[in-house]
C-alpha cells in the first residue's frame, strides 16, 4: 500500500498533457527585466545602475535582510534602467532592465555538462548556495540557505525531496527528474550532508512511474560509486492533491504531523523541491547562480504540438514565451502562472519570469467562469477535503461576520490556501477567497500580540 497524507485531499484530473515534451532551451530575448522581489522576504537592493555593463551570472541585487536573497543577471549586456515596473499581478516592483548583448558568463561559472560528484565541505556549500541566490522552487521561494541552517537545538531527522508535483498540468519537475536525475540526487546528497546526514527520501507521486524508475536507477548507480549517496531513497506516493504541500508531504512520508503554526523542523523534517535540489547542484558543484529554471507551457486549448517545457532565463517577458509557442490559443480566456489550483492569473503579459515561475497555463471559459453562489447546505464536503483538518464552511461564516477570536480558535491561520474547499463545494461558495482574507487578518493580530509580548 503506497503512502499518502492522512487528512482530506482531493483527486482532480491530473491533465499532464505536456509530460512527453522534452525540455527545450528558450531563446534569449533582446531585453530582460529582472525583478528584485523573486523570493520570500525583503526585496533585494539593486547594485547596478543604468549604463553598467553586466555579464550573465553577475550579482545585480543584494539581499536586504536575513530572509532575502541575491539576484543575478541572467544575460550579458547593458543595464537600460532600474526602477519600478508592474509584475504579473500589476503591482509595482523594482526591476532591472537589461539590453542583451552576446552571451558572456561571469568568471568562475562552470557551464559545461560534466557531472561533478565530489561534494565539498559544509561551509563551502552554504556560502555557495547563499551567494548563488538559491531559493525554494516549490512555490514559496523561501531562501534555501536559511532553511538548511535549522535553529540551534533543532535537528533534522528527515530530508524530504518533493517530487510529487501534485498540481494538475505542471510537468516541469517531472521532466527534470527524467532528464537531470543525477544532478537532482547529487543536490539531495549535498543538502543531506549539510543537515548532518538525516534519512533522505525523494517522494514521487505514482502517476509518474517513469520518474520513479529513472530516479531509482540513478540512486542505485550512485550508491555503488560513493558512500555519500547511501541513505537516499525513492518513495512512490499515492496520488492525491495537495501532496506537494510541505506539511502534507511530511505526513505522507514520515507519518509526523506539524502542529498548528509550527514549522517542519519542529518535527525534524526539512522539505525541498526537486527543482531546488537541481539549483543546489548547479550552485554548489558548478558555481552557477540561479538564473534559469524550467517552465511548462500547457493547457487543454493548446494543441499538442505547441505544448512545451522550456528552460528559461529569469527576466524573460511572458509575452516573449507566448510568441515562441505561436501566440495565445483562441479559446483561452485566462493565462495562469502556476498550476490551476494555486496558481495566479496573469493580468499583465508584459511581466517577466522570476526564479519561481513554473508554468504558463491557458484556461478556457468553461474552466474558469465561476458559477453562481448558492447557500451552504452543510454537506461537509469542504471539511472532508481540507488537508489541514479545518472546517471551511464555518470559517466562511465567521469571516463574513468578522469574528476574529472565533476564527483564531478554529485555526484559520493554518490554512495553506490549497483550494480543496473551493474545488469540492457544490454550492460554489468562494470559500478560499474569503478565508484567505480572514487568515491574513488573524495572522496580523497574532503577530501584533507577539510583538506586544516581546516589548
Amino acid at each position: 500500500m503506497k503512502k499518502t497524507f492522512s487528512i482530506g485531499g482531493i483527486h482532480p484530473n491530473d491533465s499532464k498533457i505536456s509530460s512527453d515534451c522534452k525540455i527545450n532551451v528558450l531563446p534569449v530575448p533582446s531585453t530582460v527585466c529582472i525583478s528584485m522581489a523573486q523570493h520570500l522576504g525583503a526585496p533585494a537592493n539593486p547594485v547596478v545602475a543604468a549604463g553598467d555593463k553586466v555579464k550573465a551570472g553577475q550579482v545585480i541585487g543584494e539581499p536586504a535582510g536575513f530572509i532575502s536573497a541575491f539576484v543575478h543577471s541572467s544575460v550579458s549586456g547593458t543595464v537600460k534602467s532600474v526602477g519600478p515596473r508592474k509584475d504579473l499581478a500589476g503591482n509595482n516592483v523594482n526591476h532591472i532592465e537589461i539590453a542583451v548583448e552576446g552571451d558572456e558568463w561571469a568568471d568562475g561559472i562552470d557551464m559545461t555538462e560534466t557531472i561533478v560528484r565530489e561534494i565539498p565541505d559544509n561551509e563551502t556549500i552554504i556560502s555557495r548556495i547563499k551567494a548563488n541566490g538559491v531559493v525554494g522552487l516549490g512555490g514559496a521561494t523561501f531562501p534555501t540557505h536559511v532553511k538548511l541552517c535549522p535553529p540551534p537545538g533543532k535537528k533534522a531527522d528527515f530530508l524530504i525531496l518533493n517530487g510529487a508535483e501534485c498540481e494538475p498540468y505542471l510537468t516541469s519537475d517531472y521532466r527534470i527528474m527524467l532528464e537531470k536525475p543525477e544532478q537532482i540526487v547529487i543536490g539531495a546528497a549535498i543538502m543531506r550532508q549539510v543537515l548532518g546526514n538525516p534519512r533522505t527520501i525523494i517522494g514521487i507521486e505514482d502517476n509518474k512511474p517513469e520518474a520513479v524508475k529513472t530516479m531509482s536507477s540513478v540512486v542505485a548507480k550512485l550508491k555503488v560509486l560513493s558512500p555519500s549517496f547511501h541513505g537516499i531513497e525513492i518513495m512512490p506516493l499515492k496520488k492525491k492533491y495537495p501532496q506537494g504541500g510541505e506539511k502534507q508531504l511530511i505526513d505522507a512520508v514520515t507519518g509526523r504531523q506539524v502542529k498548528s503554526m509550527g514549522l517542519p523542523i519542529d518535527v525534524g523534517a526539512v522539505v525541498q523541491n526537486v527543482a531546488t535540489s537541481l539549483a543546489v547542484y548547479d550552485a554548489v558543484q558548478k558555481n552557477r547562480p540561479l538564473v534559469t529554471n524550467t517552465l511548462t507551457v500547457t493547457g487543454d486549448c493548446l494543441p499538442g504540438d505547441r505544448q512545451r517545457n522550456f528552460l528559461f532565463r529569469i527576466g524573460t517577458p511572458l509575452s516573449f514565451i507566448v510568441d515562441q509557442i505561436g501566440g495565445i490559443p483562441e479559446e483561452a480566456v485566462k493565462v495562469v502562472s502556476g498550476g490551476p489550483m494555486m496558481g495566479k492569473a496573469i493580468s499583465n503579459l508584459d511581466a517577466t519570469t522570476v526564479k519561481g515561475s513554473s508554468s504558463l497555463l491557458f484556461l478556457t471559459a468553461a474552466q474558469t467562469v465561476r458559477k453562481a453562489e448558492s447557500n451552504c447546505i452543510r454537506c461537509g464536503k469542504c471539511t472532508e477535503a481540507c488537508p489541514m483538518g479545518l472546517e471551511p464552511f464555518l470559517l466562511n461564516k465567521l469571516a463574513r461576520n468578522g469574528m476574529m477570536e472565533e476564527l483564531e480558535e478554529n485555526a484559520v491561520q493554518d490554512c495553506i490556501e490549497c483550494g480543496c474547499c473551493l474545488y469540492s463545494c457544490p454550492a460554489n461558495i468562494p470559500l478560499l477567497d474569503i478565508i484567505r482574507i480572514a487568515k491574513g487578518d488573524v495572522i496580523k493580530i497574532i503577530r501584533g500580540r507577539q510583538a506586544a509580548a516581546k516589548k
Partner: protein
C-alpha cells in the same frame, strides 16, 4: 385529591415568596452602580450603533462621554453638532462645534477615463480583489468597483453608478461615520470638511505612479505636476509621491487649482454653475478641466438645488 392541590399551591407560593426575598437581597447586595446619566445620554443619541465614533455602540459611546472630563475626544458623526449639544446639556459641559464632514470618493477612473486592461472573474469583493492583484485597469491605486463601501454603509448614502463604475456619495444622507473609509482596501474614500454651503474642492485621485504612467492608465489621473500647488495662494496643496493633496483646513475654495489642473483631477463640487462665457480666456489647460468638472457639478446640483438659487439672488 383536594388536599394535594392545596398543598401544591401552598408549597409553590411559599417557595415563590422565599425566592423573591432571596432575589431582592441579592439584587441589593450586588447592585452595579451605574451613572444614571449614561441612560440619559444614550436617549439623545441616534441609536444606529454604527460604530462611527470608534466605540462598540451608542451605549459605549454614552459611557465614554460620561466618564471623560470633557467632550473633546468624543464626537458622534451621525448626530453631528446637534446631538453633541444635547449630550453637552445633559452632562452640563461645554462642547466645541465641529465642522460637518462628508465622505469623498477620490477616484476619476470612470470606464471612459480608465480603460479596462483585463477582466476580473473572481468573487465580487474589493478586499478579495485587492488581495489577488492590482485591479482590472492600468491604475493600481484606483477604485476596484466591487462596492465594499456600498455594502457597509448603514445609511444608504453611497451607491455604485453603473455608468462610471464608481461609487457616489449622497451628501444629504452621508453621516461621515467612516465605515466606507475603513472598508475601502485602496484608501480612496476620505472624510473631508463638508464646506461652506457644501462647496468642496478636492483632488479626486490617489495614484502615486509617475506622471506618464498615471496618465497612461487614466486620462484624469493626478500626474503630480505641481501646478496646483504653485497656483494655491494659501499653501493648502502639497505634492508628495507624484500626488497632490488639498488640506481642507487651509483651502479657501478659490478654485485657482481647478483651473490649473491639466488633467481635470481636481474637482470642485456644489459651486454655482456659471453660464459659459461668450469668449473664454484662451487657456489651453482650462478646456479639459471644464469638460471634466461639468458632470460632477450637474450631479451634485440635482441633489442640492441651492447653488442655482444662490446665483439668481
Amino acid at each position: 385529591m383536594t388536599t394535594t392541590i392545596i398543598w401544591t399551591i401552598a408549597i409553590i407560593t411559599l417557595l415563590g415568596a422565599l425566592l423573591a426575598v432571596v432575589l431582592y437581597l441579592v439584587a441589593k447586595k450586588f447592585k452595579v452602580e451605574e451613572d444614571p446619566r449614561i441612560d440619559e445620554v444614550e436617549k439623545v443619541l441616534p441609536g444606529a450603533n454604527c460604530g462611527g465614533c470608534g466605540h462598540a455602540g451608542c451605549r459605549a459611546f454614552a459611557q465614554s462621554c460620561v466618564e471623560a472630563p470633557n467632550l473633546d475626544n468624543n464626537f458622534c458623526p451621525v448626530g453631528g453638532n446637534d446631538t453633541m449639544k444635547k449630550v453637552a446639556s445633559v452632562l452640563g459641559v461645554e462642547v466645541k462645534e465641529k465642522a460637518p464632514m462628508v465622505a469623498v470618493v477620490r477616484c476619476n477612473g470612470t470606464c471612459e477615463n480608465r480603460p479596462r486592461t483585463n477582466e476580473y472573474g473572481g468573487y465580487s469583493s474589493c478586499r478579495v480583489k485587492a488581495a489577488l492583484y492590482s485591479g482590472d485597469t492600468g491604475c493600481s491605486f484606483g477604485c476596484l468597483g466591487c462596492g465594499d463601501c456600498v455594502s457597509v454603509c448603514q445609511f444608504g448614502a453611497i451607491a455604485m453608478n453603473p455608468e462610471t463604475g464608481l461609487p457616489e456619495v449622497d451628501q444629504e444622507k452621508c453621516t461621515a461615520c467612516g465605515a466606507c473609509v475603513k472598508a475601502c482596501p485602496k484608501a480612496i474614500i476620505e472624510l473631508r470638511n463638508k464646506g461652506a454651503r457644501n462647496k468642496r474642492v478636492f483632488v479626486s485621485c490617489v495614484n502615486r505612479d509617475k506622471g506618464a504612467v498615471a496618465r497612461k492608465a487614466c486620462k484624469a489621473a493626478c500626474i503630480g505636476c505641481g501646478k496646483c500647488a504653485k497656483a494655491c495662494p494659501f499653501g493648502a496643496i502639497t505634492v508628495e509621491n507624484n500626488l497632490a493633496y488639498i488640506d481642507f483646513t487651509k483651502c479657501k475654495l478659490c478654485k485657482k487649482c481647478v483651473a490649473e489642473c491639466p488633467t481635470g483631477a481636481i474637482h470642485a463640487v456644489n459651486f454655482p454653475v456659471l453660464k459659459p462665457k461668450p469668449a473664454p480666456v484662451a487657456k489651453p489647460a482650462e478646456v479639459p478641466v471644464k469638460a471634466e468638472a461639468a458632470p460632477a457639478q450637474k450631479e451634485q446640483a440635482a441633489v442640492n438645488p441651492q447653488p442655482t438659487e444662490k446665483k439668481e439672488e
